[in-house]
Symmetry: C2
Subunit: 165 residues, 2 copies
DNA sequence: CCTTAACTTCACAAATTTCTGAAAGAAGCG
DNA sequence: CGCTTCTTTCAGAAATTTGTGAAGTTAAGG
């Protein structure tokens, strides 16, 4: 029996997790294929898979994998790795990296801030609507600072729990 | 000139903000119509509009407004208000409430946690994949606690900036 | 208790999104 | 330097999503 690492992996269990977790991501607003690819990587023991492996596991075409991976890389949820020898590419979840990307979502917050600031300007800072937006902008600014600190604390907390990587 | 509150509202400017901010929300994963309705409410001076007003401003059918508002209410991003006399209904953004709902997203985090826990169980807590997921679960647990505290601090900070409502 | 105004639900049409197959494009290896 | 292997791009088919019109439901007001 092919038992390269340590424990048996039941394909049924893996697939069940992949599809279940992907569904949650979809419900949270992520497109289907990136969700499935991401869940698949998360469920792999090495934390990395090749394009071919992903296509095989998820039963989709190389094109679909390509599109999903491009999206995930843009969002900093996976990292591309060229394997030195072969022209194969591997996609990897950096266990500590992906949830930082997922929660902070700096770019998104920044764009919201920007749009809201424009709203304050164009509607007038002294109007009730303008004031409401100004408050929201203040909230996002505050949040950005706090989030950075929370992530600091998380790293410390994580070392306590698991030891550093 | 109909100037009931205080300042002139340029319809062009309002519409420009509404569509621009809605586009940002769409990009972050929210459906189009809820995004537009929400942006419209945010841009109104009173922070509340009737179904008819929304339909008029956004040029959509009552049915579309109804669907969008149902979604927003479920997400706690707007609150329904029955006007005592008329059978009209008003939809309101509670300026301090909506961004809390938007950023914490308790329900979403809880479901992710649940799905990941199932992953740990079904793949095995001792496998590398299981360990990676366990770490992620720990992260979400940590985050929940921290977020609550951050929101506390925000409320204090907000009073400093704007005075209590 | 009937009328009327407002909101909701439902089935369908239109528009958008998503995935595939095929062809073109890189990059190692002989 | 050409062959081979893997990845990306592109056009189109299929499926999903989105918004409308029309009928249905609820509740105020006469």
């Amino acid at each position: 029996m092919a038992e390269s690492s340590a424990v048996e992996r039941d394909p049924k269990a893996v697939s069940s997790f992949v599809e279940g977790f992907a569904a949650q991501l979809v419900e949270a607003g992520m497109a289907r294929m990136p969700s499935r690819v991401f869940a698949a990587l998360l469920s792999s023991d090495s934390g990395a898979m090749t394009s071919a492996e992903l296509g095989e596991l998820l039963q989709v075409s190389p094109a679909a994998v390509s599109g999903a991976v491009r999206y995930l890389a843009q969002q900093h949820m996976v990292r591309r790795e060229r394997e030195p020898g072969s022209r194969r590419e591997r996609y990897r979840v950096h266990s500590d990296q992906w949830y930082e990307a997922l929660t902070s979502r700096d770019a998104v917050l920044k764009r919201w801030e920007h749009a809201l600031r424009e709203g304050v300007d164009s509607l007038g800072a002294e109007t009730p609507a303008g004031q409401r937006m100004a408050e929201t902008v203040a909230f996002f600014e505050f949040m950005e600072g706090e989030l950075a600190q929370v992530m600091e604390r998380w790293r410390a907390h994580r070392e306590e729990l698991f030891g550093q990587d």
